[in-house]
């Protein structure tokens, strides 16, 4: 389905700006449980969908926000291509706009980059209803502030994403997963040794087992599998991790991501280690404050993914002066705080 809904959406935002009534921006609705519960009337982008431009030989696709990742994946795979960033597909309804707004990247991040790394440009509706384009569809572009990347992970609080230009890459010829029983310190040493020497595209550590994903040219992957040995693992484990679909992520409590220096000690309470040590998933009933302090103790940050208490946002507030700066940035793009009000922080 291809439909350009820009004019309708822009006038809806303009009207909301004039009436000062907040809007909840919704794509496929598969990420509405992430972040704080926003105020406002739903503004659906589901019908604003379709590929705007796709030149396979340029490895860039420009796509409307309401396009489902399912449809986008299908169009790319017809050309033997896939999105460069390893982003979650929570369900068949998940949209590219929602993915960019949430900003999550899966286990491929240390090897194929973060989602924000592969966003080249975006068209957005500002909080005053203006349609604005930033960045572009080329790899190197230093004209203007990088507002398109700013949209990634802002949970739709800085603009309604209309379409994005993102990088794509060639589908690997082969994907294999191998697993090893070992301690975390051993696993970390192995990962450091293998990076750059092996076609790694993911690695996670869970219950005493290091699972490693190898992808790329068939001959190279086969050689790597021979070289490494280990048990044959399930490639689906990596897409399940990417989509936060493991059963234990649903256990009672809140799901947290702890972003810490990779050499931080391993706490058995942490459910799973990803990103070569830099991301630790933790499902816990502990208070938000305790979790945030735990991450801070290692010089890191804790990001709340989901949980029963919707009053707690993903991120702790930064120091007051920096919070004031964030608020001014928010105000520059959405002066009446009508876009996803309350989704990231209370009141804006």
């Amino acid at each position: 389905m291809t439909h350009d809904d820009t004019a309708t959406l822009a006038s809806a935002v303009r009207a909301a700006y004039e009436r000062q009534t907040p809007l909840e921006v919704v794509g496929g609705g598969t990420r509405r449980h992430l972040g704080r519960a926003p105020d406002g009337q739903p503004l659906s982008l589901a019908s604003h969908s379709g590929i705007v431009e796709y030149e396979p030989s340029g490895f860039v696709v420009t796509v409307r926000a309401g396009t489902t990742l399912h449809d986008l994946d299908a169009a790319l795979s017809r050309e033997g291509q896939t999105l460069m960033a390893d982003i979650p597909r929570f369900s068949a309804a998940s949209t590219i706009g929602g993915a960019v707004a949430a900003g999550f990247t899966g286990p491929g991040r240390p090897y194929t980059g973060a989602l924000r790394d592969s966003v080249l440009g975006a068209r957005v509706i500002s909080g005053t209803g203006q349609v604005l384009a930033f960045g572009g569809k080329v790899l190197k572009n230093v004209a203007g502030f990088d507002v398109s990347r700013l949209m990634v992970g802002a949970f739709g609080t800085l603009g309604v994403i209309l379409d994005v230009s993102v990088r794509v890459s060639r589908c690997p010829e082969d994907v294999q997963v191998v697993a090893f029983e070992m301690s975390w310190p051993e696993a970390r040493e192995c990962l450091k040794r293998w990076e750059g020497d092996l076609p790694l595209t993911g690695a996670f550590y869970h219950r005493g087992v290091l699972s490693v994903r190898l992808a790329g040219r068939e001959a190279r992957v086969a050689a790597a599998v021979r070289e490494l040995g280990g048990e044959k693992g399930r490639p689906e484990a990596f897409t399940e991790l990417r989509d936060l679909a493991f059963d234990f992520f649903q256990a009672p409590g809140s799901l947290w991501r702890l972003l810490v220096p990779p050499d931080s000690p391993w706490d058995p309470e942490e459910t799973l280690i990803d990103w070569a040590g830099a991301q630790r998933f933790w499902v816990t009933l502990a208070l938000a404050q305790e979790v945030r302090e735990k991450a801070a103790q290692y010089g890191g940050q804790a990001v709340r993914v989901w949980g029963p208490d919707r009053s707690e946002g993903p991120w702790a507030a930064p120091p007051a002066a920096t919070m004031a700066l964030l608020t001014r940035v928010k105000t520059a793009l959405d002066p009446r705080a009508i876009l996803n009000r309350g989704r990231l922080y209370r009141d804006w």
Binding site: G103, K140, V142, F145, V147, A154, R220, L259, P262, G300
Partner: protein, 493 residues
């Protein structure tokens, strides 16, 4: 040369100067015309202006105090690293001060275990890789001026380099920064993975000193690839060479570098270095492939097949560091080499989608013939970043104007193909007019609103990077007269 004219004499109260002297070390304030003259321009010397003074703080605290003081007195501040920028981003403000960060040049920490480096802004780019080398690591962004340019400047300009095709630009390699807003308040953004509620890192990187003054940068270090192979392929036409680049990219290969030189650039480089290219070369493609040994063999064979399939009639291969250096020498010295072909050249910096290379190069060639002005092409073909060099003689009346007209046409061509007016050199003062062609008034107003969020009184590098709505005239480029550029011994572009 375009001197920025003095509008009115600025007299700052003696208390301002007294306070400023008290903040800075005894040798940390330059006010004499002879001292200040050194800072009149950056790597784009056609624009010059003399600042009221140059402040040379040694510590982060001093930087904050200088900013707070200037904020109190409404004094414009232009932050400066090594001054190697190519768009006038560090051009002083005639009524303001230059804030040099060159003395904040300590490497605060190399953390090989977590693969990060924490740096003061005045650390030279290449010093980071040198410090990381004992651990088998390096800092990937490698702008051609890397032996002189600083990390702080790299952050301001979102510096790239030959290897950014594979390893990314500065924005992909910075994890956290500490910076002052114009009011002298310190902020920290980013973190272990760079993630944050708002990606202010993305805004700051490439903001050309308009949003804040960076005083500490944490960068990602990457392991050195086990092996590197360079290939030089000679073609009988520019179109074939450009098509081969599109083919390599189109196959999904990601070489560490993929560069192209046309016939004019080749003959200049050959005369300059004395290293001959294969006879009858009309264009040369340089490809560098790195990675693990097994992958490299597969990739090199694949790239070779594509180059040969698109008409390469000779391919040289280099594996040792010395051989690779020799293969790259002509490319690295192409700009000073071209500078000897004519009294002046005008360097453009547009980027286009890589699938449009053949078409855009043909159109540039057609316009070059129509204007009767030779254009040499030496550029980062792999990421579509063009550097057409228009050769001319400024002493011929009217020639400069025709060059600017041709330059404007080339930039419009880049935009028409879905590209941008600046791939890596920045907007600075030089491409302000081009910004009007690329962005609408509402988009420019958004940039100004963001600027105000960081710097409400417009004191940090005012007048650069984002044009006022009143200004929109014609796109611009970069002029080099008789090869006179500061740091003329540096490799460039």
């Amino acid at each position: 040369m375009r001197e920025l004219t003095e509008q009115k004499a600025t007299v700052l109260p003696a208390t301002f100067w007294r306070h400023l002297r008290r903040i800075l070390p005894p040798d940390g304030l330059l006010t004499k015309p002879t001292q200040v003259a050194v800072y009149e321009c950056d790597g784009l010397p056609v624009y010059r202006a003399r600042p009221l003074a140059v402040a040379l703080p040694r510590t982060r605290a001093e930087v904050g105090l200088v900013l707070a003081l200037c904020s109190r007195y409404g004094v414009p501040v232009v932050a400066r690293g090594a001054g190697t920028g190519l768009s006038g981003g560090a051009l002083p403000h005639a009524h303001g001060i230059v804030l040099s960060l060159a003395r904040l040049n300590r490497i605060l920490a190399i953390d090989p275990d977590n693969r990060t480096a924490r740096l003061e802004p005045g650390v030279r780019n290449s010093a980071v890789s040198e410090a990381a080398a004992p651990y088998g690591l390096f800092y990937a962004p490698d702008p051609s001026s890397q032996i002189a340019c600083t990390i702080g400047g790299n952050v301001a300009e979102n510096a790239g380099g030959v290897h950014c095709l594979k390893y990314g630009l500065t924005t992909h390699n910075v994890l956290a920064v500490r910076f002052f807003t114009a009011d002298g308040v310190l902020h920290e953004v980013g973190g272990v993975t760079g993630e944050a509620p708002f990606d202010l890192l993305a805004l700051l990187v490439g903001s050309e000193g308009l949003l804040g003054v960076v005083v500490e940068v944490t960068v990602r270090l990457v392991p050195k690839p086990p092996a590197t192979v360079a290939l030089l392929a000679a073609f009988r036409s520019l179109a074939e060479a450009a098509a081969s680049v599109s083919a390599v990219i189109g196959e999904g290969l990601v070489p560490a570098g993929l560069e192209l030189m046309d016939a004019l650039a080749l003959s200049a480089a050959q005369d300059y270095t004395g290293i001959p290219y294969p006879p009858d070369s009309q264009a040369v493609v340089l490809a560098e492939v790195d990675g693990d040994l097994a992958t490299i063999e597969l990739d090199v064979a694949h790239v070779r097949r594509l180059l040969l399939g698109h008409g390469a009639f000779a391919i040289e291969e280099a594996r040792s560091e010395e051989d690779r250096r020799r293969l790259w020498l002509g490319r690295k010295s192409a700009f000073p080499a071209v500078g000897r072909l004519a009294p002046d050249y005008y360097c453009m910096d547009g980027t286009i989608p890589r699938s449009a290379l053949v078409a855009v190069l043909a159109e540039i060639g057609e316009r070059s013939r129509r204007y009767g002005l030779p254009v040499a092409n030496v550029f980062h073909a792999g990421d579509g970043n063009l550097h057409p060099l228009i050769l001319y003689d400024a002493k011929i009346p009217g020639e400069l104007e025709r060059v600017e007209e041709l330059g404007a046409e080339i930039l419009r061509l880049c935009l028409a193909y879905g590209g941008t007016i600046s791939g890596e050199h920045g907007v600075g003062v030089e491409k302000l007019d081009g910004m009007c062609a690329q962005f609408t008034a509402a988009e420019l107003a958004t940039f100004h609103a963001l600027k105000s969020a960081f710097d409400p009184h417009n004191l940090l590098n005012p007048g650069k990077a984002v044009p006022t709505p009143a200004r929109c005239v014609e796109p611009g480029g970069m002029h080099v007269h008789e090869g006179r550029m500061p740091f003329s011994s540096l490799e460039r572009f």
